[in-house]
Symmetry: C2
């Protein structure tokens, strides 16, 4: 294969759970390809196509021509949450991948961009390896995206800062609600394996006694007895207790607590359905009501909310997230149009954003094998005891989330 520019079309797909900024990355890739001359006379990059619902649409010839969409419309799409092209949870096997090649050949595709999380980067790796084996030159780029923030190498991933912003905002407002009519309040937060999003609830705190008072992460074995004890202590102290619980909390055998509660559905990746149900929160409520009711006395007021899909689609992009999601898209397009390389784009932190240092990020091309199907967990130094996060996590997450509304009380 040559190191120069190969002639053909580009295709862009969006995969996995959408985010508030996934369209920023889509627009970033389009802008990057246009910047590299796509569509202009003499340019090796011809049309810019979009897959409807990811590789599923590609294999079914459901493509949309993005070549000549005007800049004003692109800007509005970038500001729109959820996947504008449609997304998919399909995970291609060898046969599916053959169909992807057939589609690539049929549509003259030589530049392949796939925006997604770790399952999606694995799809990207498989497609790329099959392209290599087939001797088909395909410049294949994964563009990172996941509210779970669980991709390796990356300091953080596009989508996480905006979702974390929603979670922090929600906990800050809900803590006031919980203080208004005191009781025990459980809020269940997304994040199948990694506790980053649940940890972001800690950013809601703004003063002594404000919530969340307890934070339960999937990285720390969930012990029901300890949970009840910890809630009881906070409730005795403040007359109320606001609790952040990850949907992915696990028992000592690494089994999700949620799967013990209901006969869960699994998706194409074998993942159990954790979101889109209130079962975990309701089960934990029931446990607290039962265990914290004094003999002959009245059960405490316990409520549970499961934040659900609003976490990933709420239309309030964090400024850092909007900027970076656009940039990773542009960077992938730049890499792919500059030589015969494949890979993923990683966000590295170049300026800490605390201790007097401005926040700044840099982008780097990494190999697909470095990111594909790997999961990063909340590191040890971001946790504090069994039900809290550390100052190191607060320092890490604060610049990503941006300014939150400041509330006032008596």
């Amino acid at each position: 294969m040559s190191g120069g520019m190969i002639e053909g079309n580009a295709v862009i797909g969006q995969s996995g759970g959408p985010t508030a900024v996934i369209n920023q990355s889509l627009v970033g890739i389009i802008e990057g390809l246009r910047g590299a001359g796509a569509g202009q006379a003499g340019s090796p990059i011809k049309k810019i196509l979009g897959m409807r619902h990811g590789v599923r649409g590609l294999t079914q010839d459901q493509l949309v021509d993005l070549s000549s969409i005007e800049q004003a419309k692109l800007a509005r799409i970038a500001a729109t949450p959820s996947a504008a092209l449609g997304s998919t949870r399909d995970k291609p096997d060898a046969d599916y991948c053959k169909r992807i090649f057939t589609a690539c050949e049929k549509h003259g595709i030589r530049y392949f961009f796939y925006i997604g999380g770790n399952d999606s980067s694995d799809t990207c790796r498989i497609v790329n390896e099959l392209a290599d084996t087939a001797g088909y030159e395909l410049r294949c780029f994964h563009v990172p995206k996941t509210v779970d923030n669980d991709l390796p190498v990356n300091d953080h991933t596009p989508g996480y800062p905006s979702a974390a912003r929603f979670v922090a905002n929600a906990f800050r407002a809900d803590s006031l609600d919980n203080a208004s009519i005191p009781g025990i309040k459980i809020n269940v937060v997304m994040g199948r394996h990694a506790g980053f999003l649940t940890a972001a609830s800690a950013l809601a705190r703004n003063g002594e006694g404000t919530g969340p008072h307890l934070i339960y992460l999937p990285e720390i074995t969930f012990d029901t007895e300890r949970f009840v004890q910890q809630v009881s202590e906070v409730y005795d102290r403040y007359g109320r207790c606001q609790i952040a619980v990850s949907e992915g909390i696990q028992d000592e055998e690494s089994q999700p607590i949620a799967t013990q509660i209901f006969s869960g559905e699994t998706d194409a990746h074998g993942n159990v359905q954790l979101s889109g149900t209130g079962a975990l929160g309701d089960a934990l409520s029931l446990i607290l009501k039962q265990k914290l009711t004094p003999a002959g006395g009245k059960a405490p007021r316990v409520r549970a909310d499961t934040f659900g899909y609003l976490q990933r689609c709420w239309p309030d992009q964090s400024p850092v997230d909007a900027d970076e999601a656009l940039r990773v898209g542009r960077y992938a397009a730049m890499c792919a149009s500059s030589g015969d390389v494949d890979g993923s784009v990683a966000i590295l932190r170049a300026g800490r954003g605390y201790a007097g240092e401005d926040y700044r990020s840099e982008l780097d091309r990494i190999e697909l094998t470095e990111v594909a199907a790997k999961t990063k967990h909340l590191p040890e130094e971001f946790m504090n005891g069994t039900a809290d996060v550390s100052q190191a996590f607060i320092d890490y997450a604060t610049p990503l989330v941006g300014e939150l509304p400041r509330f006032e009380g008596f």
Copy 2:
């Protein structure tokens, strides 16, 4: 009793479920009392006190002096969601009311303001009647507040427009999420008896095929078979279906569907707990999965979110709501300081806000008996068939909610 100004202190309480703008009304009352001279030399209105957690705090001498809080702080409090003084769900009986009088006499209270919904206005009425019977001159004002929008006389109530704004925003963003990865999505919305908040989901629509596709209100008997049929039709047509369900949907015997699902807790008013649990959404999901799975085939993707307490505390006040919540507070203070009157403040629509007419509201003093413990339902003309709202409702609600973000797609 004299028609002039009686000398004494004023007290303000917040009651029932808090809202995003309940502190606007608190600040409005303080500003109104200050405007009437409260605290100034020679003024009959002496101190402005706040009840901690409503009448519960008043009877326990838990009062806070609000007389000299600076204007800048008041402005920040007005912008803060949830009840800054704390709220309560206590409903005073005759004995409780005696304790309220004792507290009023003890603290020299002659001006009594209670911000709340229909349960709270009833509290206000009882306190006022006992004051009359006891020959104790107490100027007693109810200041309306409820996200349920179910107070009679009022065109709408403070708190509703902001909660409706959250619901409309959430449905608009979630409809994009549902279009990204198509399936059936149920969102359960607050509103025990009245469907106004669930109806507001319709404001999310912005084009053919956008959600919500079906809206289930507590005013229309919920028929499970019809529900399954309607969802099936939409799903066949669009390949997806976004559904708004009121937490208060009822069967043909006017029993909440939710109570059939779980052994509900009841509050001091005998109300069954509907919020703070995902049980209703999960039960409806299960029904759809079972009924819509083709013989030998795969169940459709069904998810349910219950929006929960974020609906009433999300920190995004609708401009109309912020303005009116402040004004009803000021108006109550003005009435109470202008003569020996009691009552509630009602919001009346003076400019429609559609059909070429600007939106405008006027305030009116009404009798406590006109509003106390009465519930308004979504009127017939706001409904359309068995699972939708009418254009008349859209016209009614649009000016209240304010501008929503406009999204763009391909």
